[in-house]
Each structure stands twice: as C-alpha cells, then as structure tokens.
C-alpha cells in the first residue's frame, strides 16, 4: 500500500471516529442538559423578561436612543457563554474522575479528540443561543438590529474563546466533580456580577468600574455592546479578551490531566 493511500484511509477513519464522537457527545449533551438549559433556555427566558419590562417601560434609556432590550441583549449573550463554559467541568471532570478519559486513552483514539468534540458541541450551543436571542429580540420585542456584522461577530467569537478557555482552566485545575460544581458556582456568580447583570458598570464608581470593564465577562459585554450600537468595538475590550484567552489557554494546557 502506498503512503498516500494509507494517509487517505487514516484521515477518513479519523473523520469517521470524530463524527461518531460528535454524535455521542451531542446525545449526552441533550441527556445531561447543563449547557442546554443554562446556555440556551435561560438566556431566551431572561430576554423575554427584559423584553416585557421594556414594553411596560418603553422609550430611551438615559440619553441614548436604545430601549431596555437593546441594552440587555449583549449581557444576556455573555451570560449564555458563561453558563456553557462553566458546564465544561461538569462533564469533563466527571469523565476524568470515573476513568472514562483513561479508558479512551487505551484505544487508538487520543482523549483530546473527546475534548475537541465536547467543545464543538458547546460551540454549536453558543451559536444557537446567539441566533435565538437575536431573533427573539428582533422579531418578538423589536430590538435594534443595525449592528456592524464583522465587529459584532469578532466580539462574540473572542468572548466565547475567552470564556471557554476559562472553563478549561477549571477542568484542568479542579480534582473532583464535587469541587467542580462548587468552583463552577463561585465562578459563575463572579462572572455574572462582573458582566453587569446586576449592577451596570456605567453607574458605579472607580475602582469597581475599571475592574468590571477589564474582567473577562465585563470586557465581553462591553465589546459586544459597543460593536452592536457604538459603531465599533472598544479595542481595549477586544485586547483584554485576547490576553485572557492566551493566559487561560496557557494555564489549561499546562495543567491539563487526562487521568
């Protein structure tokens, strides 16, 4: 058999393996719907709540021409990404703790492929959340849709990259499922607070405002908000997220364990 035919059959087999893994991880994501409920269903509900508040209290917020729903959409999207990323340790730490990753590593498949499949599934969920929230906002509650697509997409992608990398840091560092759910809870609360879900950073004084602006979730909200309504993203926010992505990625890779 020639080398190229061997390569071809190997790559075909590798695609078949990955397709099967995706199918199985996808089914598990539906059966253990942490990411689905937190990342997709909850944002849709949150948006509806803010949408109805917006209908009761219509009009401009402050001096902007934006409605309540316009202002909350970016935060809700970032909350979705937060909840999807903190669900990563729920499955992956469990899979490691029960020896499933180790078991996979005795087969021709490297367990990193399982991790990759899980990330693809979560990316699909994040994309679904973005679509649902934007369409729900626009069609049901009449939110503005005149954002610039490219900066908006870049802001969303960087937010996802940064928050997923943070989720992987949790997977790498926490030893057990019990610790994972406790740590996940604390991180979720901190990220949601910093994103401005409860307190708007524009309305608090320094240094809290600066901390929020340069936190992983605060920077994400600012970038998405700016690219949606202020004509372009804040480069400081984009740069902040890029730096977090690199740092979290480095820590996750450095400390990742398969068993």
């Amino acid at each position: 058999m020639s080398g190229s035919r061997l390569d071809e059959s190997t790559s075909r087999r590798s695609r078949r393996q990955f397709a099967e893994l995706l199918r199985v991880q996808g089914k598990l994501a539906l059966r253990e719907p942490y990411a689905l409920l937190g990342g997709v269903a909850l944002p849709a509900i949150l948006l509806a709540v803010f949408g109805f508040i917006g209908q009761v209290q219509p009009g401009n917020v402050g001096t902007t021409r934006l409605t309540i729903i316009d202002l909350w959409t970016p935060t809700i999207l970032v909350v979705s990404f937060i909840l999807i990323s903190v669900s990563l340790p729920n499955t992956l730490v469990r899979d490691r703790e029960i020896g499933w990753l180790r078991r996979i590593s005795t087969t021709p498949l490297h367990p990193s492929r399982l991790l990759a499949a899980q990330l693809v599934i979560d990316l699909i969920l994040a994309a679904a959340a973005v679509l649902i929230v934007i369409l729900e906002g626009a069609l049901v509650f009449g939110a503005s849709l005149h954002m610039q697509i490219l900066p908006f997409a870049v802001s969303l992608l960087l937010s996802i990259a940064e928050l997923f990398a943070l989720g992987l840091v949790l997977v790498a560092l926490v030893p057990t499922q019990t610790v994972a759910s406790a740590a996940g809870g604390v991180v979720t609360f901190a990220l949601m607070f910093l994103s401005g879900l409860w307190v708007n950073p524009a309305q608090v004084g320094d240094p809290l405002r600066t901390i929020m602006y340069y936190s992983p979730s605060g920077a994400a909200v600012r970038a998405v908000l700016d690219s949606a309504f202020n004509g372009g993203p804040s480069y400081a926010a984009l740069l902040t997220m890029a730096v977090y992505t690199v740092i979290f990625g480095f820590v996750a890779i450095r400390y990742f364990r398969w068993e």
């Binding site: 087999r13 078949r16 393996q17 099967e20 893994l21 199985v24 089914k27 598990l28 059966r31 253990e32 499955t91 469990r94 899979d95 029960i98 020896g99 499933w100 180790r102 078991r103 590593s105 005795t106 087969t107 021709p108 498949l109």
Partner: protein, 311 residues
C-alpha cells in the same frame, strides 16, 4: 502456540517517588494463553500491566508486545491490545450500544457490535444507560469495550471483583471462549479460585518481584503439597511416620494427626500404616491448592511487615 512469545517483559522497574512498585520483573507470555498475574494488594500487579499496555512508562527494563514497544509504538499497539481497567466507569447516561459502537469506530478491524453484545449476553441492554446496569452487567460492558477492537491481546484487571458467584462463573466461561478464539489474555486477579480455574500459567507477584511463575498446578504442588488428616487406631510414633515416602510435616492435635507432604501422600500413608497393623478412621485428604501456595509464598514478607499470616 507459536514459538515467539506474545509479550516479553525484561527487568521491569517502576517507582512512584520513593515507593518501589515493580522491581526487576521478567515475564514471557505465550500467544493464545490465559496468563494470570496474582499477588497481594499493592504488590505491583496493576503497575506491571499498565506498563505492558503503555499507560505507564517504565523507569527501566524493556517490554515487547508482539515485537513492538508500548512506549514507542503506542499508536500501533493500541490497535490490537484491548484493555479492561480496574475501576473504570462509563458516563452514567451513555447507553450500552452507543458505547460499544463508539469504541468500534475507533478501530480499523472492529468486531460487529451487535454480535459482540449478543455473545456477551447483554444485547437486551443495548438501549439501557450505563448507570442503570447491575455490577455484573457493567463488567460485561467493560469486557465488550476491551474486545470490540478484535484484539490479539486482552488485558483484564480485577475482572470479577464485586460480582456474585453466578456472574463470576459466566464471566469465566466468557474468558475461556476468548481464548478459544485465539486471543491472548492477561488476567490480573486476587482470587485464587479464578486463577486456578482459568489460567494456563501464572505469575505470583509479591512486593514488586516475581515470586513464582508456572502453571497453577505446579505452583500449588510446589508450595502447598497434599495434606492428610486422620485418627489412628493406636498411637503411631513420629519416626514411623517420617519414614513414609513423601511425608514432610507432622502435626498432632487431640486425637487427630495431620501429615503434609508431596506425591500420593494418602495412599502411601494407608499402606504403610496397614502394614504395621494400624487402622485409620475419619480420613480427610486435601491436595494443596493455590491459596495455600499463595499464603506460603507471600507470608514470609508479610510477617516481617508485622502482620503475620497464620497458616
């Protein structure tokens, strides 16, 4: 049985920090045999098979699995070595059929998942999630995952721990059928009856070294021997008994005399005693079994650890 061994392990050493887990282990496993690795807890059994399967890197020594190195040829070895790990579970909501089909997709030359489930008697659980299965069913799924790649070598660690007697017997006949299909099996166990019943050859590992390596019968005979207990019709002196061929040890307790030794001990005793007019009653003869041998071969070190095993 081919001339070249399926697995050779030479001078294997493995330490965890200052703890010596495996110390100069040498083994050679023939193609198509069930090779047992027995020994007390913490003796280094699991570490040895983990090095063979490539999950751990030895500190020194060499391992060859069908001519390949588990470290250097990791990817090629994984294609034909099936591993059943001690204490390894599946995601609780993963279904049996999904797991086996997933694993089948990993291998070049996998078995048909449906037939495999059928032959393991778990076809009816195809659509059941892993967490809903009983211990024996979970073990069978675990075996299915080790076999679905159609391995030449299957490494099974603590296969029947926690199973009821009936489930154990079923798993045993399953392993025998694997051997009949030509699969080489390495079986790690601490159940002597399991090793005696299944294994063609055994290595007894104690404190990281091979204490014995032979067929179960040979190990049992070597260290255990036979034991005959009887009540003589009149006192027999020590010298008379010692003169009987095969007799090693004599023990007296109340009216009972217990003689341990080798060969056809009961026959030799009966004949010799009848010749001097001693009749015997309440005869109880037992050939040495693996468990006796195990205790004998491991007890010396055990007593030096301050918890002597009573014979």
């Amino acid at each position: 049985m081919s001339a070249a061994p399926a697995v050779t392990v030479q001078h294997l050493d493995k330490r965890y920090g200052r703890l010596v887990a495996v110390d100069d282990v040498c083994l050679s496993i023939h193609e198509g045999e069930i090779f047992g690795i027995i020994g007390p807890n913490g003796a280094g059994k699991t570490t040895t098979v983990e090095c063979i399967s490539g999950l751990r890197a030895p500190d020194s020594g060499s391992i060859s699995v069908y001519g390949l190195s588990p470290q250097k040829d990791r990817n090629r070895i994984r294609e034909f070595v099936g591993v059943q790990l001690q204490e390894s579970a599946l995601p609780p909501r993963l279904k049996v059929g999904e797991a086996v089909r997933l694993f089948a997709s990993f291998y070049k030359d996998a078995l048909d998942p449906d037939q495999l489930l059928e032959s393991l008697g778990i076809k009816q659980f195809d659509n059941s999630s892993f967490k809903s299965l009983s211990g024996g069913q979970k073990q069978r799924v675990s075996i299915a995952l080790a076999l679905v790649g159609n391995p030449k070598l299957a490494i099974l660690d603590e296969l029947t721990t926690g199973l009821d007697p009936e489930a154990r017997r079923e798993i045993w006949s399953l392993i025998e059928r694997m051997r009949d299909r030509g699969v080489t099996v390495i079986l790690v166990t601490h159940f002597m009856d399991e090793a005696e019943r299944l294994c063609d050859r055994l290595a007894l590992i104690n404190h990281g070294t091979v204490a014995a390596l032979d067929t179960p019968e040979a190990i049992a005979a070597r260290a255990g021997g036979s034991r005959v207990r009887f009540v003589p019709s009149q006192p027999v002196d020590e010298q008379t008994l010692r003169a009987i061929p095969g007799v090693n040890e004599i023990e007296r307790k109340e009216k009972y005399v217990t003689v341990t030794g080798t060969g056809d001990l009961a026959g030799a005793l009966m004949n010799a005693l009848a010749a001097i007019g001693v009749r015997v009653s309440e005869v109880e003869a037992r050939t040495g079994n693996l468990e006796d041998a195990f205790i004998k071969l491991t007890k010396n070190d055990a007593s030096s650890f301050g918890k002597g095993v009573q014979e």
